[in-house]
C-alpha cells in the first residue's frame, strides 16, 4: 500500500467518523446529566434536511450548519418537554423522536432528492495541504476541526469547570442535587438542548461532507451507533474519540473492499455493510460482560426526576 493510499484512507476515515463523533459527544453530555435520549438518529435527520435546504437555497455552508444546529435544538425540545417537564418515559419518548425525525425529514425533503449541492471544502488554503503528509493535518473542512475541539472542550468542561461538576452531580444523584439547591430540570434542559444542537450538526455533516445531495434516511443508523459508542466509551470523551474512529475505519474498509477488489473483497459486500452494526453489537456484549463498566454510568441515567415535595 502506498503512502498516498494510506493517507487517502485516513482522510476518508476522519470524514466518516466526524458525524458519529459529534453526535456522540452531544449524547455524552445528555447522559452525564442523567437523561437517556434515544432520539439522536431522528434529530440528525432533521439536522440533515435543514442543512440541505439552507445550502440548496442560499449556497452558504456555515449558515446551513447553524440552521441544522437550531433545528436539532428545536427537535430536542420536544423530547425535553415530554421527559423533563411531563416526566414521560425517556426510552419510549426517544424512540418516538427517532420515528418522528425520520418521517418529518422525509416529508420536508420531498422534491429535494437528486438535486446536487457542493460539499464544504477544506478550511485551510490548498497550498498548505499540497503535500500528502500535510494533508493529514490541514486537509479537512471546518466541521472536522470542530469535532476535535469538541472532544477537548467536553473533557475540559466535565473535568475542570464548576458547571461540569454540577452537571455530573445532577446525573449522579438528582435528589441530592435538588436538596443542595441546584435546578435539576434546568440543567437537564440545557444538556438535552446541547445534545440536540450536536445531533443537528452531525446530521449536517451528511450533505455537507459525505454525499452532496439529499436522500431519505441518509444518516443510515449512525445515530444509533453514536448512542452505543457513549456506552462503549464508558462516558469518557477521549475513549469516545477512539471508538468513533474505530467505527469510521470499519465503514471505510467497506468502501475500499468494494473498490479495490483485492483480498478484502473475499468477504461479501453485504457483510462489510453490516460490519459497523455487528461491531456495535459485539462491543455492547463485551461491555456488559465487563462487570465494573456499569459503575461509571451516571447513577440516575434514564430515571425521571420526581422530587418528593
Amino acid at each position: 500500500m502506498t503512502l498516498e493510499l494510506a493517507i487517502a484512507i485516513l482522510v476518508t476515515v476522519v470524514g466518516a467518523s466526524t458525524p458519529i463523533l459529534i453526535a456522540a459527544m452531544g449524547e455524552l453530555i445528555v447522559e452525564k446529566s442523567g437523561v437517556l435520549n434515544l432520539g439522536v438518529e431522528g434529530m440528525m435527520l432533521v439536522g440533515a434536511i435543514a442543512a440541505f435546504v439552507v445550502l440548496f437555497t442560499t449556497g452558504n455552508h456555515y449558515l446551513a450548519i447553524l440552521v441544522a444546529a437550531a433545528a436539532g435544538v428545536a427537535t430536542s425540545l420536544i423530547f425535553g418537554f415530554l421527559t423533563l417537564s411531563l416526566s414521560a418515559n425517556q426510552t419510549a419518548t426517544g424512540l418516538a423522536l427517532t420515528i418522528f425525525g425520520t418521517g418529518f425529514s422525509a416529508l420536508a425533503g420531498q422534491g429535494y432528492s437528486a438535486r446536487p449541492v457542493t460539499l464544504l471544502g477544506p478550511l485551510f488554503p490548498s497550498e498548505l495541504a499540497a503535500h500528502p503528509i500535510w494533508r493529514v493535518l490541514f486537509g479537512y473542512s471546518a466541521l472536522v476541526y470542530f469535532s476535535f475541539a469538541l472532544v477537548f472542550s467536553v473533557w475540559w468542561f466535565l473535568k475542570k469547570t464548576r458547571a461540569g461538576l454540577i452537571l455530573r452531580a445532577v446525573g449522579e444523584n438528582d435528589l441530592s442535587a435538588h436538596s443542595i439547591g441546584y435546578s435539576v430540570v434546568g440543567v437537564r434542559y440545557m444538556a438535552v438542548m446541547f445534545g440536540g444542537a450536536m445531533a443537528g450538526i452531525a446530521g449536517a455533516c451528511f450533505p455537507l461532507l459525505l454525499t452532496p445531495q439529499w436522500a431519505e434516511r441518509m444518516t443510515a443508523g449512525r445515530g444509533w451507533i453514536a448512542v452505543a459508542l457513549v456506552v462503549f466509551a464508558s462516558w469518557k470523551p477521549f475513549r469516545l474519540l477512539a471508538g468513533a474512529y474505530l467505527f469510521g475505519l470499519v465503514m471505510t474498509m467497506e468502501l475500499y473492499a468494494k473498490a479495490s477488489g483485492g483480498p478484502l473483497s473475499v468477504i461479501p459486500a453485504e457483510l462489510w455493510a453490516a460490519m459497523p452494526y455487528l461491531a456495535t453489537i459485539a462491543v455492547l456484549v463485551l461491555i456488559s460482560l465487563r462487570r465494573d463498566a456499569s459503575t461509571n454510568a451516571p447513577a440516575c441515567l434514564g430515571k425521571p426526576f420526581l422530587p418528593s415535595n
Binding site: R162, L165, I166, R168, A169, E172, N173, L175, S176, A177, S179, I180, G181, Y182, R291, D292, T295, N296, P298, A299
Partner: protein, 505 residues
C-alpha cells in the same frame, strides 16, 4: 452574653398532627445541647425550622439575642448555623473535594478550597483524602465529609442529627473529641440522638420532647439513662424479658467455611465464615457497615447461590445449593437490611407482600392460584400482633413509614415460625417502643426453639439481645463467644479490624 439560640413558643401544625406545640428552650454559646425524643416526637421538625427548611406557624427564633426569620438553609448558613444530616446527601461517584465544592454557597477555586479543607481536617483531626471517591469510603468517613463541609463555614451552631447511629465505638470517641473541641472554641452544638449513654457522656443540657411538646429540660449528668428514657416515652420502660439460665438445644444452623465471590466494584465478599447456632440461641453479628454483612445475609438467605451443599446445614441437612424458596421451605427465613424494594415491594399491598415470602410455609398458593383470603387473614394477624400502623392488608407497603414497614416485615417472618431466622438491622430507624416489641418477639421466637442470627451495627441492641456474639470485619467473621465475655472496647477493636485479642480468647 446573650443566648446563642433561643426558641420561644415555636408551633408547627401539619395536617392532622401538631408537630411542635409551644416549644421554648435556649442554647448557650459553647454548650452541647441534646435534643431527645422518640420517632415522631417532633425533633426533626424543630431543627428543620431552625435550619430554614420549614417555617414555624407561630413563635420566635432569637439568634444571639436578635429575633430572626430563617427563610431557607442558605440564610441559616449565612447566620452561622451548620447542619449534619442523618442521611448524607453525597454523590458517590464524585470525590470528597467535588462533593464539598457542590455544597458550598460561595464559589471558591478548587485549589484554595482544598487548602481550606486540609486546614480544617488538620485542626480537628478529621483525616480524609480529598481526592478519594466517596463510594470507596466508610460511613464514618462519609460523615466526616459532612462535618468538614459544615465546619468550613465557621459555624456558631452545629446541628447533628443522630450522628453516631452507624459508627464504631472508636469513631464515636473521635467524633466526641471533635465536638468537645468545637464547643471549647465557643461553637454551640445541638445534638439529636436517642442513645442515652452518649448524651450522658457528651452533653451539658438535654431537652426532651414527647408528642411535639417539651416535657423536660435537664442535666443529663444528673439523670440516669432509664429516667431519661421514661421521660421520652412517658411511661415506664419495658425490659426485654429473657428467661434466666436458658439452655440451648441441638445445633440448628451450622455454617462451615462459607464464602462468596466478589461481584461488584464496591462489594465486600465473605470468606471462611464458620459458626454454629443452637436451637434457642440468638447469635449477634456486629460490624461496621460494608464489611460483608450484605454478602453474608444473601449467602444465608439463598440470594447468592452457594457452591457447596454442606457449607450451610439446618438440622444436619445441607442446604448450601438451594435457592431462597427451597430454603424457606426448609425453615430458613431471612430479612434483608433494605426494607422498601428488597424486603418488601413498595407498590404491592401488604397482603401481596405476605404471599411473596409466606406462600409455601403457610399454603397461600394452591395449584398456582393465590389464596387471597389466607393472605389477607395472615396479614391482618401480622398487623394486629405487631401493632403495625396501617389501614389494613390492602395498603401498599410503600405507604407505611419506615418503622411501621419494619414491624410488618419482622412480623411477617416471625409469625411463619421459621426454625432459623436471619435478620439484618432489625430495628434501624424504629422508635424505642417498637424496637422493644421487635426485640421481645425475637427473644420469644428463640425461646420457642428457633435459631436466630441478628446482623446489626447497633452494639446496644446486640448486647441486649444476643446470647453469643461474633464480629465481622472485611468479610471475615471472628469466633463467636458468649456476649458477656466481650467488653465494649474489645468489640470496637474487632469491628475496626484488630484481631489480636482473638488469640487471647
Amino acid at each position: 452574653m446573650p443566648n446563642r439560640l433561643e426558641l420561644s413558643g415555636i408551633t408547627k401544625q401539619f395536617p392532622g398532627v401538631l408537630a411542635n406545640d409551644q416549644v421554648s428552650f435556649a442554647v448557650k454559646p459553647g454548650e452541647i445541647h441534646a435534643l431527645l425524643g422518640e420517632n415522631g416526637a417532633g425533633k426533626s421538625t424543630l431543627v428543620k425550622m431552625i435550619y430554614g427548611i420549614m417555617a414555624p406557624d407561630a413563635g420566635e427564633i432569637r439568634w444571639n439575642g436578635v429575633p430572626v426569620v430563617v427563610p431557607n438553609p442558605k440564610a441559616a448558613r449565612k447566620l452561622g448555623i451548620g447542619m449534619v444530616f442523618q442521611h448524607f446527601s453525597l454523590f458517590e461517584a464524585l470525590t470528597v473535594l467535588e462533593n464539598i465544592a457542590l455544597g458550598m454557597d460561595a464559589k471558591i477555586p478548587s485549589r484554595e478550597l482544598e487548602q481550606r479543607i486540609r486546614a480544617v481536617m488538620q485542626t480537628y483531626g478529621l483525616l480524609l483524602d480529598p481526592h478519594r471517591t466517596v463510594a470507596t469510603l466508610s460511613v464514618g468517613e462519609r460523615q466526616r465529609i459532612e462535618i468538614v463541609r459544615a465546619l468550613l463555614l465557621d459555624p456558631q451552631l452545629l446541628i447533628m442529627d443522630e450522628p453516631t447511629s452507624v459508627l464504631t465505638p472508636q469513631e464515636v470517641d473521635q467524633l466526641f473529641t471533635v465536638l468537645r473541641k468545637l464547643a471549647a472554641e465557643g461553637c454551640s452544638i445541638l445534638y439529636i440522638s436517642h442513645k442515652l449513654h452518649e448524651i450522658k457522656a457528651l452533653c451539658d443540657t438535654a431537652t426532651i420532647l414527647r408528642g411535639g411538646k417539651l416535657v423536660d429540660t435537664c442535666d443529663p449528668k444528673q439523670e440516669t439513662s432509664r429516667s431519661m428514657a421514661e421521660k421520652m416515652i412517658g411511661t415506664g420502660l419495658k425490659d426485654i424479658i429473657k428467661p434466666e439460665g436458658r439452655t440451648f438445644g441441638e445445633p440448628k444452623l451450622v455454617v462451615n467455611r462459607l464464602r462468596t465471590k466478589k461481584t461488584g466494584h464496591f462489594d465486600v465478599p465473605v470468606d471462611g465464615v464458620t459458626f454454629t447456632v443452637h436451637a434457642g440461641e440468638i447469635l449477634g453479628i456486629a460490624g461496621v457497615a460494608g464489611n460483608g454483612q450484605n454478602a453474608l445475609l444473601d449467602a444465608l438467605s439463598g440470594e447468592i447461590r452457594g457452591e457447596e451443599r454442606d457449607a450451610i446445614t439446618i438440622d444436619g441437612l445441607g442446604i448450601g445449593l438451594m435457592d431462597t424458596t427451597e430454603r424457606r421451605r426448609h425453615g430458613l427465613c431471612a430479612v434483608p437490611e433494605e426494607r422498601n424494594g428488597h424486603a418488601a415491594v413498595g407498590d404491592f399491598s401488604l397482603a401481596d407482600n405476605s404471599v411473596l415470602t409466606a406462600r409455601d410455609r403457610l399454603g397461600m398458593v394452591v395449584l398456582g392460584l393465590i389464596n387471597s383470603g389466607a393472605a389477607r387473614t395472615y396479614t391482618g394477624k401480622v398487623i394486629a400482633d405487631f401493632a403495625v400502623k396501617a389501614l389494613g392488608p390492602a395498603s401498599t407497603a410503600g405507604s407505611l413509614s419506615g418503622g411501621n414497614l419494619q414491624k410488618y416485615i419482622m412480623g411477617r417472618e416471625i409469625l411463619q415460625k421459621p426454625s432459623v431466622l436471619v435478620v439484618s438491622q432489625p430495628t434501624w430507624g424504629v422508635d424505642a417502643g417498637a424496637a422493644a416489641a421487635i426485640h421481645q418477639a425475637l427473644v420469644d421466637l428463640a425461646a420457642a426453639g428457633s435459631a436466630i442470627v441478628v446482623i446489626s451495627q447497633d452494639l446496644d441492641e446486640l448486647r441486649a439481645l444476643s446470647d453469643t456474639l461474633a464480629v465481622i470485619n472485611m468479610g471475615q467473621l471472628s469466633a463467636a463467644r458468649p456476649v458477656s465475655a466481650f467488653s465494649v472496647d474489645e468489640i470496637g477493636l474487632l469491628m475496626g479490624g484488630v484481631h489480636g485479642t482473638e488469640a487471647a480468647a
